[in-house]
Symmetry: C2
Subunit: 117 residues, 2 copies
DNA sequence: TCCATATTTCGACTATATAGGAAATTTCGA
DNA sequence: TCGAAATTTCCTATATAGTCGAAATATGGA
């Protein structure tokens, strides 16, 4: 991941409403969620949400497809991974104390449960 | 880590100059680096840097101590770890595809070398 | 005590981000 | 073809962030 991409992804996530929307889309999985549904659940005006989704989208963190009258947004997992990798590699090179504790978190995620690895 | 802390850390890092300063401090290790030295290396006016260091500091990503006429800044590794954990736990819960690839990155960091784990 | 050094604080200006009303666009169904 | 539904685009107002000159503060040395 390039510096510019990392900066725009960080900026996109550094906003309460956008982080909430992104989380929701991550949880929604590959099916994704319609813009209107997100707006309803987060209780924000549709146009406000739309512009925030656009920012997340330009940052590469989500993408959209049309389904009938709805626009379905989905999280771009691979780019979130790339951002985390970027921060980890960048910050941990030669300084294992930052990243070492993350092994457990990452391992736990592999089975989606605590105490599985 | 609380939502508010994560947001302020993300916002602090979402700035080219601040990310560069933070990286430099991570590389500098526990010894840290004087404000003036950072400003010189990044080629930014001292007062501009100072306000950016202040933002990183309020976000909990760095801290400072006085040493004679200099102020030495150091990275707060534990809070960077907490931010990464927050993003990983938050985003990866139930969706291993984001975090699973990070195991390798985290493991590699443990010995500071590729292909060591 | 006085001066040079290191850094921060203050203040003012510019730039960018945010929010949301109103209108436009796209799609579906009647 | 018309109207309702879903979403975005346009626009404007307001708020927040960023920059840096100038002045202030703290320190060490002569």
């Amino acid at each position: 991941m390039e510096l510019k991409n990392a900066l725009s992804a960080l900026a996109a996530l550094a906003h309460e409403g956008r982080l909430a929307a992104f989380r929701m889309l991550v949880q929604a999985g590959h099916e994704g969620m319609a813009a209107g549904e997100i707006a309803r659940r987060l209780d924000v005006p549709p146009n406000t949400l739309s512009s925030n989704l656009s920012i997340l989208s330009h940052a590469g963190l989500i993408e959209s497809r049309r389904d009938g009258r709805s626009i379905i947004y989905t999280a771009r997992y691979e780019n979130m991974t790339a951002l985390l990798e970027y921060l980890m590699q960048d910050c941990c090179a030669g300084h294992p104390e930052i990243c070492a504790p993350l092994v457990k978190v990452a391992l736990d995620s592999r089975c989606g449960q605590e105490g599985c690895a």
